[in-house]
Symmetry: C4
Subunit: 226 residues, 4 copies
């Protein structure tokens, strides 16, 4: 409103005056979300466990609750594998920009929904064919959403020079190719639901196992002392 | 009580003998709270999901639960955007004092209440006009409270030399101006509730989108290798 | 079992061959617990909020739930202040030993119980005199337990050379004296319950305010640029 | 698809082009899970506390809930001790590989199940002999699973040169021996359930106490200033 203030308003915002930031805080924040996602199913076990619900013989009550245990293991396996990929891929990121953070938040939006859809899936594994397919589709939807934003994050980080300059460009490309394969395999595992829903669950667990086979972006192994 | 003790009591506390601290622990702590806030709604989805409540056909039960999904997305969008701003703004903070920590705790008090008010809001979007306005007001209250303490944090950090000395003072002022605009826009989005409550929800989501447009305090973008 | 194995068994364990560790991981871990404690009450608001329970008019339901809001604010105030003290005190710790970690775990055991006792306290503020005194005693028990292990942590850290060697011994002593005063003030606030339970709650909140007055162990304030 | 693309496809993936990573993010992530595990029982106290359930006199309601308090203390003691071991052991790890991360995830899978089995255990301590033995077996199962993956982690880290090269090989072996003893002691504590279930609970708590006795892998103690 004063002349001095007008002068300040005249200050021209130039983005190159902004300071950079490394990805350490993004990793801490993401780890917090992964930690809650991985433990949420254990909290559910507790809340709907025989100690709380009662009214049945304990061995019976425990064995009836098998879909909850299955949901716990599936959630842990899938979300654990997503964390592993996040851990490995983000070690190549040396700085972040606005878009990468938004892609990462959207990735976490889908990751945080995994317990919900995994729970639905395991709960309806003995339901009607409609229920099996519906819950299977919802589940694969969360997993695909997560995979989509992994691909977008990597694509953006490569394009905008956010990766470690020492990263071999051929390796960066190989990682991108590997990340693209994921969603396709998930769709195949989902299609199995039309044959047998229990088989489909095992297909998901098999996929997690497949990811553990060495591939581009994974950690090196060591044969000599540090 | 003894003479030696008296002598020690005579020790004059001088605040300048205290050591400084960088903001890394404040960021870790805040990230923990943000992580819980972002995942709380997903836990709610799980607890009130069809797998737990039952008594209805699954497709029907899932589609009836749409206010929960809406609350999940709104919470994630708003709290995610607050995290993004926190991430960006705090990278300029190089040291902390007592008052800044208190302002940050009060900011987190409002952030932690967002899932509660977002849930009320989405649950009453088809309620009576009173319910819509009341829940709208509660929701905007938490968002404004959070915005207020963001403004106070930045004002205090500038005033007390807590920011990076390399930060351009013009840029610091531009960030302050941008932070001040936020609350005004939220109030406009709230006012829309008197026209149509669903439109008001979309106005909030639009605001989150607006924040993603580049402005002072955001991360730089890169055109050359690191 | 073989001679070689016997020889290895003969390896004499010497504690001085163990490596030291700085407190960074203790802080991250403690912050995770503080973050859950601070948000737990917000989750409770959500779970017992009008959106879930229903059966009443919304404005009525919201106003009936005031003890929950009170419990949220009290928990946030007390646990937030404990976090602040933890943040400030641990910045002087440069290395950790087994005993200090155990004291810190016991401190966290009491901190994690604060939401439970604060909830009981606020829920019985209009109960019978017995209920008020019982819940008041439980609450002050958790707060005193926490304060006890703060005192033990600091005493041990001073005794075992775990603090920053640049810390003025006079200041270290002044911090110890200040930490000792806390429990006494809490006991006074508890005694007020015999006069009026609501007054007792305000006394607790007043105490949190008192802690914000500058004292030994607090962060310095800055008058010159960094 | 083009010639250039074929050429890129010809890029031979060599694991030695991948970059190493230190364990800091694994520790942050694990701490997030430990923090939730340690606070989950406190959340349960809150949800099933007298403030929520009602219908009884408060002193009566509180004293009836003793198995919950027991479960809280046992979970805190066991999971706290596991955290302590994790904190101490991982300070010797200087780099991570894929297998070590998978072992750590499986360790966390069992750690996250501790609140569930501890809750069952304490809830059935006055149940029938079958219930006592069944819940005792489930509980010891989670604790043994956790101990198994601790042993595998350490064995793998030694074998694959992931430990600090300054770590005395004799000390590394002594740590391995100590980690192997744990599961045996847990089995003995479990066997006590056939004599008396309450005694078995105390045996577990005694074991936690035993772990606090100085041994290989623990933190050093200091007798001189830092």
């Amino acid at each position: 409103m004063t002349g001095a203030d007008d002068q300040e308003r005249a200050y021209k915002y130039r983005r190159d005056r902004e300071m950079a930031r490394d990805p350490s805080r993004v990793e801490t924040f993401s780890d917090g979300i992964f930690a809650v996602v991985l433990t949420v199913m254990a909290v559910e076990l507790l809340q709907y466990g025989p100690a709380r619900v009662g009214g049945r013989e304990l061995p019976d009550a425990l064995s009836q609750a098998w879909p909850s245990y299955l949901a716990y293991v599936i959630t842990f396996a899938i979300a654990g594998q997503v964390w592993l990929t996040h851990h490995n891929v983000w070690r190549y990121v040396v700085r972040v920009d606005q878009t990468l953070l938004v892609f990462n938040l959207l990735l976490l939006l889908f990751v945080a929904a995994i317990p919900f859809t995994a729970d639905l899936l395991s709960d309806n594994v003995r339901g009607s064919a409609t229920e099996q397919r519906l819950t299977g589709a919802l589940y694969v939807g969360t997993v695909l959403g997560q995979a989509l934003f992994f691909n977008l994050s990597w694509w953006w980080a490569r394009r905008r020079h956010l990766l470690n300059p020492d990263l071999d460009p051929g390796l960066a490309k190989a990682v991108a190719r590997r990340l693209r394969v994921g969603p396709l395999l998930y769709l195949i595992a989902f299609a199995v639901v039309f044959i047998d829903p229990v088989l489909s669950l095992f297909a998901y667990l098999l996929l997690v196992g497949l990811y553990l086979i060495r591939g581009p972006g994974d950690l090196p192994s060591y044969t000599t002392p540090a």
